[in-house]
Subunit: 202 residues, 2 copies
DNA sequence: CGCGACGTTGATTTGCCTCAACGATTGTGG
DNA sequence: CCACAATCGTTGAGGCAAATCAACGTCGCG
């Protein structure tokens, strides 16, 4: 993965959403640094106070929470063109409660909170971009929250498959169970039940 | 409740967070319209396509979701200085999936999506304010989501009491149960259990 | 006053967890 | 490159938190 190719991908992502002039593009390129993660490497770990955000250029990652009992809960999976980081920690300057780990070799354009604040001044369009992104992410999280409290695991599983076809080829089953908020054993039993009662096989 | 008092409250809220000049203040005052809600009146109802947001000047409201089975789930309660509206519908221009209902007589400064978009141009500081608000709301919702999937109802109940002391005097018990994601019967049993095992009474 | 909304209590059910065991696959160090 | 270990998915037995269904007393209010 080449730095300029990564930068071009980021600039395309941004200019698809807001207008930038040539100077602004240069400012942005200076601030985002390419980082390679091997499988199982961490981009952010619980307790970190680095406050960075990352734009995923390629690869696959999981963003998860480790609760006080030590159980891990997947918040979301991230692929090309997604953003990763601990938003709560980032916003409140608190130690990260989330971790971000590569599920495969991944390339990420990393930016520090300081540099983002600096860019808000030098590139006002980013203020707009990040407002829109925050509002959209908020709307998406709200939907996920409402589904989680109103529907059983089986319904949430079907919704996931519908919203993200092919996810089962990309991430392991126990990661999907974690995303759904159930144990791997429960997902295994659920799939068996769905398969037996409605055998859409061969 | 007087319009100019309400406007002053809003302007104080905003200028506590970002800088405004006199002209900008006038633009904002023109866009926010005062609305009185009696107890049980709705500010937003499921299916609405008005895309308005509201700044709560006084009173108390509940923001809730009605699932396909007809069960209501309280997203949050709103009091003075909070914002209410269906953020998902607002952002995606979809019919509202949330409802906002007054629990007591309330006064709200209402603004349409159109006028907000207009203000982003005339008052750039609002772009920043709404970015910050969206990011903070997102961080708060993330914490709520993570607590919901990782902790039992009893722990969530204690967290609510700690974060919002006095909530039990402001809203009915079945509303609190709905916020916690459990049935009124379950909350009743839980309180009984907590009371018996740890009688902090007289 | 009378009705409806609210909170409580009881009996039973259920969705998912916990703990345990066991093949199958994957990965790795010698 | 193979042998062994670790990880993963599956299956079983039993348990628990909260839902469901039902009944009933109390209170506030039209």
């Amino acid at each position: 993965m080449d730095l300029s190719v990564a930068h071009d991908k980021l600039i395309k992502y941004i200019t698809d959403r807001v207008h930038l002039n040539a100077t602004e593009i240069e400012v942005i390129k200076e601030k985002f640094h390419l980082r390679k993660l091997s499988k199982k490497d961490y981009f952010v770990q619980t307790g970190s106070t680095n406050f960075q955000q990352g734009f995923v250029v390629s690869g696959a990652l999981r963003v998860y929470y480790t609760d006080p009992k030590g159980n891990e809960h997947v918040m979301y999976f991230a692929f090309s063109d997604w953003w990763v980081g601990d938003l709560a920690g980032f916003h409140f300057n608190e130690a990260a409660t989330l971790s971000v780990q590569a599920l495969d070799e991944s390339y990420i354009l990393e930016v520090s909170k300081e540099d983002i604040e600096d860019m808000y001044i030098k590139v006002p369009a980013l203020e707009r971009l990040f407002r829109i992104m925050a509002q959209r992410t908020l709307a998406v999280l709200q939907k996920r929250f409402l589904l989680t409290i109103s529907a059983h695991a089986e319904e949430r599983y079907k919704e996931l498959l519908q919203r993200h076809p092919g996810i089962e080829q990309l991430v392991a089953q126990h990661q999907i169970a974690s995303y759904l908020g159930i144990l791997p054993e429960s997902l295994s039993r659920m799939k068996k039940k769905l398969y037996v009662s409605s055998p859409n096989k061969k």
